[in-house]
């Protein structure tokens, strides 16, 4: 039997190639291009090899903002996961309360990020903001524009307010997929409320929780808009997270080479952590 060869099917793949090239490969390669060169005006470039990478990796400034970023992500994961699960557990499972809760929970997620930043900025102003003014009037010396502790507190609170809902909604979906028979079987066994949570709800929520951790890690690690509007990275460099620092370097100082190197390192860190996390998750999946 003679096979006929017809390669025309490749034409169907071309649009995808073009699309991916323009929205991912080309911009990324531009950044790679910058990261190995010194950029002067009027399109003049000079080859620098790995100099920018070495500089960034040894720069204290980068270490500091990476450290701040890691601490921030760690804190918000530590608060948002348990809080989100707890709220999901207390939400009603049927009746009129369900849509009410779901809508209330979705609200913060629907607000544009810069609006969230602006809202919290005004909300927390020590003189006229409701939060700032209230805290001061009950005796706290609160001023997020001048005291780094307060700036951190406000940023974390804002992020918790903005994003805990995502964990809630995911957990709620996970909880709702548990068949009532599981609860009954546990009741018959004489299991306590804690046992039910520990041995039924938590294992059954495992998949959505991994997803929640992954999403919250990525989003919080790349957080930009909200702290930019709220604190602008201040006071001093107190809340100067990685992405804020990167933009300052790229657009504020116009150090395109180091900024490009930094964004590549940044990108690789996020990619690496997600990959490790994902493969651990998949390994668990394959085992069970």
């Amino acid at each position: 039997m003679n096979k006929t060869f017809n390669q025309k099917a490749w034409y169907f793949v071309i649009p995808v190639f073009v699309l991916v090239a323009f929205n991912a490969a080309v911009p990324l390669m531009t950044v790679v291009n910058y990261s190995f060169q010194e950029t002067f005006g009027s399109n003049v470039f000079a080859w620098e090899g790995t100099r920018w990478f070495k500089e960034i990796l040894h720069s204290e400034r980068f270490h500091a903002s990476l450290g701040r970023q890691a601490i921030f992500t760690f804190i918000i994961l530590l608060i948002q996961l348990p809080l989100g699960i707890f709220i999901a557990l207390t939400m009603p499972k049927k009746g009129w309360g369900v849509p009410v809760c779901l809508i209330l929970m979705s609200m913060p997620l629907l607000i544009p990020w810069n609006v969230v930043g602006a809202m919290w900025n005004i909300f927390a102003l020590p003189d006229i903001g409701f939060l700032g003014n209230s805290l001061n009037s009950i005796g706290f010396d609160y001023n997020f524009t001048q005291q780094s502790g307060d700036a951190w507190f406000t940023t974390v609170l804002m992020d918790v307010w903005h994003w805990t809902s995502l964990v809630v909604l995911l957990s709620y979906a996970g909880l709702n997929s548990i068949q009532p028979a599981y609860y009954q079987a546990a009741e018959i066994d004489g299991a306590s409320r804690w046992d039910i949570f520990r041995y039924i709800e938590l294992p059954k929520m495992k998949k959505v929780l991994t997803l929640a951790i992954l999403l919250r890690f990525m989003d919080s690690f790349m957080i930009y808009t909200e702290p930019f509007v709220l604190t602008g990275g201040g006071p001093g460099n107190a809340t100067n997270f990685l992405s804020l620092d990167l933009v300052k370097m790229a657009l504020g100082q116009f150090d395109l080479g180091p900024a490009a190197a930094m964004s590549l390192i940044y990108f690789l860190i996020v990619l690496l952590i997600c990959w490790i996390f994902y493969s651990l998750m998949m390994k668990n999946e394959a085992r069970t």
Binding site: A181, A185, E187, G190, T288
Partner: protein, 354 residues
Amino acid sequence: MSLELKEVEKKVGIETHIYSTNLKLEKNTINVLLGSTLAGKTTLMQIMAGLDKPTSGEIWFNGENVTGKEVQKRNCSMVYQQFINYPNFTVFDNIASPLKITGINSDEIKQRVGKVAELLKLSAMLNKKPDELSGGQQQRTALARALVKDSDLILLDEPLANLDFKLREELREELPKLFEDRDCIVVYATTEPLDALMIGGNTATLLEGNVVQYGKTLDVYNKPDNLTSAKVFSDPPMNIAEITKSGDNFKLVDNNVQWKSNVNIKDGNYKIGIRPHNITTYKEGSNSVEINGKVLISELSGSESLIHFTNGKLNWVSLSNGIQQRNIGEDTKLHMNVDEFLYFDQNNRLVNHG
């Protein structure tokens, strides 16, 4: 030991899920709750277990009123249609879970789990997690969990419904043996008449929240109290028709099929119920009558043939042995075994059986 439901009723909102029910289940019996989906089997079981409270009525166990007693304080176990196990426990820990809560020492737990696992052919899988098992093994694990603690009441809610055909057959055969010398009451809910017949024991037929009849399984099958019970306990569905009787002459109202019988009932109008296997393509029994039918569809399974046919207004099913090929639309002659007819009066009560 006995479990007694006294005028138990269950309403949810304005809907009645269980109408006033009296039922007494004795020690060492397997009791089948037979009825279609939404007949109230699961509700009834949940009331028996104490997972749900009746709206009115009482539940007595061993002479004690347990109506309001919480499920944790009762000694019962339940197996569900879905395979319910603790997802991150091994099979061993799953089976041991009801024992661990009671605080029995670990040597005894080991010994008892081992014994039950052996019985349910799970010994080789004790270190696996439920996800690694086949559906049949998962359900065996759930069964083992129910058997390991010496429950007074074991409730099985369509335990075989989610298994594939072969596993279902296999487990159905084993089930009655598992409960043979146990000091407990077993309740088994199913939608399939065949399950009830194979499991034996007692059967309660249910329809739309009513217990229609309760008695020994074979009695309920052979002598259904009424037409409803007979319909519930018939698969394929029972063939029903209006008849008139005068002397020893019987006649279908819809056509002129006639037969003689010495069934001792008054002259008048009745209904007959004929199980599909009593209408065959060949003659069976000493007293049979012919009926002509136009074939609607024939389903061949190899060992059996189902032929759906019409005759006038009647739309009936026959079940014959072997392969009986009939074409759609073909006129065919079938034989009804008169001795097996069930006769019901105008109130649908059984007046005699063949």
